[in-house]
């Protein structure tokens, strides 16, 4: 019988040589006459161990990693196809502490299944949520999602069920489901991991959304920096059409939903929902005024659900196991789980899906193992380039939307970027303005002009020119951007800037404890 071997097709694994590892395994197997079945799975999310190769044995899946292309011959010598001992042997994958400590709901299948195989997806509880949804009315589906407490995982944390309800109740001849897959925040990659590791869960989630609100067309707006995800998504969508899970007659129900991937083109601001819609319509990605909300007048002027990849990919488990099941995870008003992404200067970077309530310290040290450089972790940016920088004194904050807002921080899309003590926070504040200047859509003045003025003022502060005056100026400018910008790009750039000044004043030529 053929031996089943898994080598990830996740682009982070590919960036470390997974394709060469896979090719070497096939060549070595051919050479030794061993019949193998090579599956290109998603990543389990332990990136310091990529390329992580798994072999299916009678005891379960056994992992080896990090495997370099040159290690393959020695793996065969060690009889790894039967789980043999080797310096890279990691034991049974299911017993790995890093995975066992997690609560994987949205990521239940990622790394386990063949991402583009409908058969494998169904064998691992796939399309159960859709089957349930097909027995319900739109209002009943929306109620289940509302009951789950699911809030938008893109960053804004708006209750998904309430958004859907608005679209459900908006009369129109055509409605749309738009998936925001323009994951531009530095330190985030959970959308990518879903799209490369379990794209069918996104297909299922969007189809359920379509049934719920009465939309027959979906678009996935995918960032152009994710060419591998594009390939995986298109394969998965084609297979779903073939198997009758997309198209004119979903599972013989007579209901219809069509799905298509559209490529973005490298504009960060298009992660903002209204500029995303402009872009989908073939225009410059310039932010729209709200109201009207996209739920009332969205894509091509029609009622549109715009949700993040993770929000939509969480819908199938909610419809499968019920809103109550999902709602039982989490704390306060943050219900369910959050796929957290550890990035930057961390020893063990990877994907941790946990119920809300886990603290930053647990993530950074228990999961992350501290800094990669071995130096103390000095600052952590949570929630992408528009998220606040947190000092060590705030590491015990539990991950919860409201707890973070109490300390003037955001969870955003769940990305955590750590910096060691070599970081210069004045440079990071300057960078926040610089990034905003590069990516501003130009519609509102605080963002368009403010970002450039911010870079100039930071340059003066760094050069110690008219120091006190310029610190006052940067605070005043931040205030204008915070309150006067049209969207989160200009409106939240002050988060990294002011948190850097407030928590790390010594990097700005101020005395510790001195808040100018």
């Amino acid at each position: 019988m053929a031996i089943t071997i898994y080598v990830p097709r996740d682009s982070s694994a590919l960036s470390l040589g997974a394709n060469r590892v896979a090719a070497n395994i096939q060549a070595e197997a051919d050479k030794s006459g061993v019949e193998i079945h090579l599956i290109r799975n998603g990543s389990r999310g332990l990136f310091w161990l990529e390329t992580m190769v798994e072999v299916r044995t009678s005891k379960g899946r056994v992992a080896y990693g990090p495997v370099m292309p040159k290690d393959v011959a020695s793996l065969f010598d060690a009889d790894f196809i039967n789980g043999g001992a080797h310096p890279l042997h990691l034991g049974l994958t299911d017993e790995m502490a890093w995975l066992k400590k997690q609560e994987r709901l949205t990521f239940a299948r990622v790394g386990i299944t063949d991402p583009v195989s409908v058969e494998d997806y169904v064998a691992h509880d796939g399309f159960k949520g859709l089957k349930n949804a097909l027995t319900k009315s739109g209002a009943e589906i929306v109620k289940e999602v509302t009951d789950s407490g699911l809030r938008g995982r893109g960053g804004a944390a708006f209750p998904t069920g309430i958004k859907w309800n608005t679209v459900l109740n908006a009369p129109a001849d055509q409605k749309y489901i738009v998936c925001n897959a323009d994951e531009g925040d530095s330190g985030t990659y959970s959308d990518r991991m879903i799209m490369e590791g379990d794209p069918l869960v996104l297909v299922e989630g969007m189809t359920i959304a379509g049934l719920a609100v009465g939309a027959t067309q979906g678009y996935i707006y995918l960032r152009s920096e994710y060419p591998d995800a594009l390939v995986t998504l298109n394969e998965a969508i084609a297979n779903a059409y073939q198997a009758g899970y997309l198209g004119e007659d979903i599972c013989g129900s007579g209901q219809c939903f069509h799905l298509e991937v559209r490529r973005a083109a490298g504009a960060y601001v298009c992660g903002e929902e209204t500029s995303l819609l402009e872009s989908l319509e073939g225009k410059r990605g310039v932010v729209r005024f709200k109201p009207p909300l996209p739920a009332i007048e969205g894509l091509f002027g029609k009622p549109t659900v715009v949700n993040n990849v993770i929000s939509l990919a969480t819908v199938p488990i909610v419809l499968d196991k019920g809103g109550k099941f999902y709602q039982d995870f989490g704390m306060g008003r943050s219900r369910g789980t959050l796929p957290i992404q550890l990035a930057g200067n961390i020893k063990q970077c990877g994907l941790v899906e946990k119920a809300f309530g886990v603290t930053l310290r647990e993530l950074l040290y228990d999961f992350g193992g501290g800094s990669a450089s071995g130096k103390p972790i000095r600052a952590v940016q949570v929630g992408g380039p528009l998220g606040a920088y947190l000092p060590e004194s705030q590491f015990d904050t539990p991950l919860d939307y409201e707890k973070f807002s109490e300390i003037w921080a955001v969870l955003g899309h769940g990305g955590i970027v750590a910096f060691d003590d070599t970081v210069d926070m004045a440079k990071m504040a300057r960078y926040a303005f610089e990034f905003c200047a590069i990516e501003s859509c130009g519609k509102c003045t605080p963002c368009r002009i403010g970002s450039t003025r911010g870079v100039e003022v930071m340059d003066k502060i760094i050069a110690k020119q008219d120091h006190a005056k310029n610190i006052t100026l940067v605070r005043d400018l931040s205030d204008t951007m915070l309150n006067g910008s049209l969207c989160a790009l200009g409106g939240m750039t002050p988060y990294p800037v002011l948190s850097a000044i407030n928590h790390f004043p010594e990097d700005f030529g101020l005395k510790k404890g001195q808040v100018a």
Binding site: S15, R192, E225, R263, A265, A343, G344, Q381, C441
Partner: protein, 155 residues
């Protein structure tokens, strides 16, 4: 501008003219094929999609991904975002610029490599990241980037 390219462009226009929100997919198709979006195509696109030439120009120039001039044979992108900065991307970008003798948005004298900044490749668990054409590279140090450059130059 060779007539051949114009024929290709016209075929892409033809294939996209009835697609809702056609402009973005059309520009991608042209750039994937030709390597950039030639200015000479603007009026043809505008006519087919019932837009003004200014609108087409506006869209092409709004997005970082679209180029209006032919790039080098390969495109090397270095990630400048926070996660990669935390792992030393600043030193890496300085090294690459010095080694190639170009700044961002420029092409090496031999035409082999166009250097571009990028703001996140989603490879933040393996920072610093870079990409060569569509291939992402992780934990890129000087040694690795030298390999990438040598490979791109066909050495």
């Amino acid at each position: 501008m060779s007539d051949e390219i114009l024929v290709d462009i016209d075929q892409h226009i033809e294939a996209h003219v009835n697609v809702p929100g056609a402009l973005m997919p059309l520009l991608h198709a042209i750039q994937d094929d030709v390597g950039y979006v030639p200015e000479i195509s603007y009026s043809r696109i505008a006519k087919a999609l019932n837009l003004s030439v200014a609108e087409v120009h506006g869209v092409v120039t709004f997005y970082h991904h679209f180029r209006t001039h032919a790039p080098g044979k390969h495109i090397l992108q270095i990630c400048r975002a926070e996660s990669c900065q935390a792992m030393g991307s600043e030193a890496l970008e300085a090294y690459v610029k010095k080694t190639l003798g170009v700044d961002y948005h420029q092409t090496t004298a031999d035409g082999a490599i166009t250097l571009e900044p990028v703001y996140c490749l989603g490879n933040c668990a393996c920072s610093p990241a870079a990409s060569i054409d569509d291939q992402v590279c992780g934990r890129v140090d000087v040694e690795r980037v030298n390999e990438i450059i040598a490979e791109a130059r066909g050495a």
